[in-house]
């Protein structure tokens, strides 16, 4: 492990706090994630999952605390150092984050920007070596034939697969996924999630993903962490838990939230999770 000297620890978080104005998104949070682990973060919308993931690659600067990712002090890192870290950490967004008006291949190629110099404009601005690699990654997610279509002509599931191919272009050591399938229908959710996980397993990547679908999570995660109001309320190996326990915790979470702090938006999303799990 040349990338981290901290004894196989990919992520080390201590006392992480983040406030937006008067709202506290993360409250004095501690978390360690060993290399190669697949960790799922569960929790209601607004429980701090996104903020946690975003503080891991420096998209959200923390208010207080210590964040170390792959041996890099994220809080202190600036400029080149932070870019270097981001280059090794893939990030999958709920809204895909594709540039809609350019081609799929150019979107995938943009994943390589962290390791090449100069701004690039158009597919042909990238060297052929990278273009071949991008096409290969695109084939890997099963979208080779869409390479020269505009990204916004694809379906949601396809767009997320393109985003995965872009992440592969980074040759990441670790992948952070922020609700990667929350804006997809159940069928594409399953296929996108399976694709992402198969790739991460094949490439032995450390994965931290927030997820609503407990069933999906149980299928592959090594470890489950539950967040509520910016605090960890559950931390268990996946093998020692089952759907019922997790759902119980999920439900209890819903019940315990004071009505004042529960926004209208979060309610339907919670209802989706039991619905998906129900028939199993």
């Amino acid at each position: 492990m040349s990338v981290n000297q901290s004894g196989g620890t990919a992520v080390h978080i201590k006392g992480l706090t983040k406030s937006f104005g008067s709202t506290t998104a993360l409250d004095n949070l501690d978390l360690d994630v060993p290399v190669g682990q697949m960790l799922v973060v569960l929790g209601l919308s607004g429980s701090g999952k996104s903020t946690l993931l975003r503080s891991l690659n420096g998209l959200v600067p923390p208010s207080a605390g210590q964040v170390e990712v792959l041996g890099c002090d994220v809080v202190a890192a600036r400029g080149k150092e932070l870019r270097e870290l981001r280059h090794h950490v893939g990030f999958i967004f709920q809204q895909f984050g594709l540039v809609g008006r350019v081609t799929v291949l150019e979107n995938v190629l943009s994943g390589a920007l962290g390791r090449i110099r100069f701004p690039r404009f158009g597919v042909l601005a990238y060297p052929k070596r990278l273009r071949l690699e991008a096409m290969e990654n695109l084939e890997r997610v099963g979208l080779g034939e869409k390479a020269f279509q505009r990204a916004d002509t694809l379906s949601g599931g396809q767009q997320q697969r393109v985003a995965i191919a872009r992440t592969l272009m980074q040759r990441p050591v670790m992948v952070l996924a922020d609700e990667p399938v929350a804006s997809l229908d159940p069928e594409s959710s399953a296929s996108v999630m399976n694709l992402l996980l198969r790739i991460c397993q094949e490439d032995h990547l450390t994965v931290i993903s927030s997820l609503h679908q407990v069933e999906l999570a149980l299928g592959w995660a090594d470890r489950m962490v539950g967040l509520r109001d910016g605090k960890i309320v559950l931390d268990t190996p996946a093998s020692e838990t089952n759907q019922a326990t997790l759902m119980e915790i999920y439900r209890r979470g819903v019940g315990e939230v004071e009505p004042a702090s529960m926004t209208v938006n979060s309610a339907p999303k919670v209802l989706v999770a039991p619905g998906l799990v129900g028939p199993a």
């Binding site: 000297q5 890099c72 540039v99 920007l113 100069f118 404009f121 084939e139 490439d203 032995h204």
Partner: protein, 579 residues
Amino acid sequence: MTLLGGRPPLSGSTDSPGDETLSPISRSVSPPWTRRRVGAFIGTLVIAVFFAVSWHEIGLGISPLVSGLGNIFRFIGRTLPPQFTGFAGFRSTISLAWETVCIAFLGTVLAIIISVPLAFLAARNTTPHPVLRWLARGVITLCRSIPDVIFAIVFVESLGIGILPGVLALGFHSVGMLGKLFAETIEQAPPAPGEAVASTGARRLQHLTASVVPHVLPSFSSIAVYRLDINLRSSVILGYVGAGGIGFALNAAMGELLFREASAIVLVMFVLIVLMEIIAAVIRRSLIGDQVVMTGSLRPRRNLGERIVARFLPKDQSPKSSLRPPWTHERVKRYSFLVGVLLMTAISLWDTKIDPISLVSSLNQIARTVALYFPPNFSLDGGVLFVGALQTACVALVATIVGVIFAIPIGLLAARNISNRWVYRCARVFLIIVRAVPELIMAIIFVVAVGLGLFAGTIAITVGTVGLMAKLIADSLEEVPKSPREAIASVGATPAQETTSAVIAPSVPWLASTSLYLLDVNFRSSTVLGIVGAGGIGYLLYQSIQLLVYRTTGAIIVVTLVVVLLIEVITNLIRKQLI
């Protein structure tokens, strides 16, 4: 503590499929030659050739510009300090400025009155008959193709020097833009409410008032305010050909070589235009603010208009059961806008002593004048007309391309979400200043600097293009979605790489389309600038008017019209392909 030193072993280990399975990819990794791409390629090539030819024709160069700089400074030195006497006497300047505002305002009102029915006839979903639709569209296009100065020249010829020709010229020319944009807005009205209303058995006109009108009203007002802003800038120019307002005083002062008085007038114009831009921006935000989807900030930030309105509203807005609609912010805003417009119209009419009836009776005189120009006499020697039109087109092309090239970096600096906070503010202020100097004034300055001819006009229009285009670019970039930028930043891209990939690359079709639109606008501007000696067909036009050779003037107007229409048709065809 740092990671690195080569690629991390995790993904680079031997069982990584990436390196092992690097089988030759069967698919091509170069973009295919689609029709679109071939078209873009050929189009770029053609424009490049035309650009080179035009550049040569105009005789552009850095050295005459540099040597002209001395002249500019000497000229500006002679205009300073501004002197508020004579033509720029304080009282007369203020009253002329007010007159200019009235002309712009009445012109816009006239244009609205003509445009609204025309737009309903021209919109696909509201027109009573296809023939009427094409007729209405023809009238709108015709109004747009005739530069306002040409309208003004004809009207001054028939009605004499004064305010009325200015109002009419602005009014008729504005129909071209207002009619087109109004009709497009009507066509965008969602059909669903209309169907719902129609299924209640409403009649056609009822259907219109109930479903289309509420949808289009806010956009109409916003477009009209935008046009008012444009018209104020134009009314400055119109005075130059005798159509009243402050431009008239400027022409007089320049004619007598009283440069310090002229600079005082320019200063007043500048203040007037800046004020108008600010007022227009505030009104437009208040009008359309509620339709804008909120992003980012937690609380909707109230704009100035809303804050003022809020002052006059009772705090408690609890719904009481009443059959009258409550005086909500929205309603107060709409009514104060309407009352403001009516009040301003009445004041302007009274103050300028324009009799609305005379608008109608003057049509007769105008028709008689127009008859003087027919049949057009095309027999200018040596194809002068053709060369003039070509020169004007060259000026427009070069000014557009050079202007856009300069506008891109400035636009990036002036976009709030891309540039640094202070740079953004400075860039915005810079743009307001550049935009507040009418192109005509620029042309006058550059004619002094580099002499009469195409070069001066080209620079003036280039500067104007930079001002407008940079503003359009900045406004459009501020709407670029945030999430792709965040995603590209997350792969470890530098800010420059991120901006190029997530902001500039997706904006290229828009940029091309908007540049073509500006080419269209610039051709008309370059016709206008010919009047102050900046060459091209406008120069011929002005000479022919001075010499009172009506039928030659008619020929020049016809040629101008044809070229304008041609450019409009071509640019529209290309723009349709782009978007």
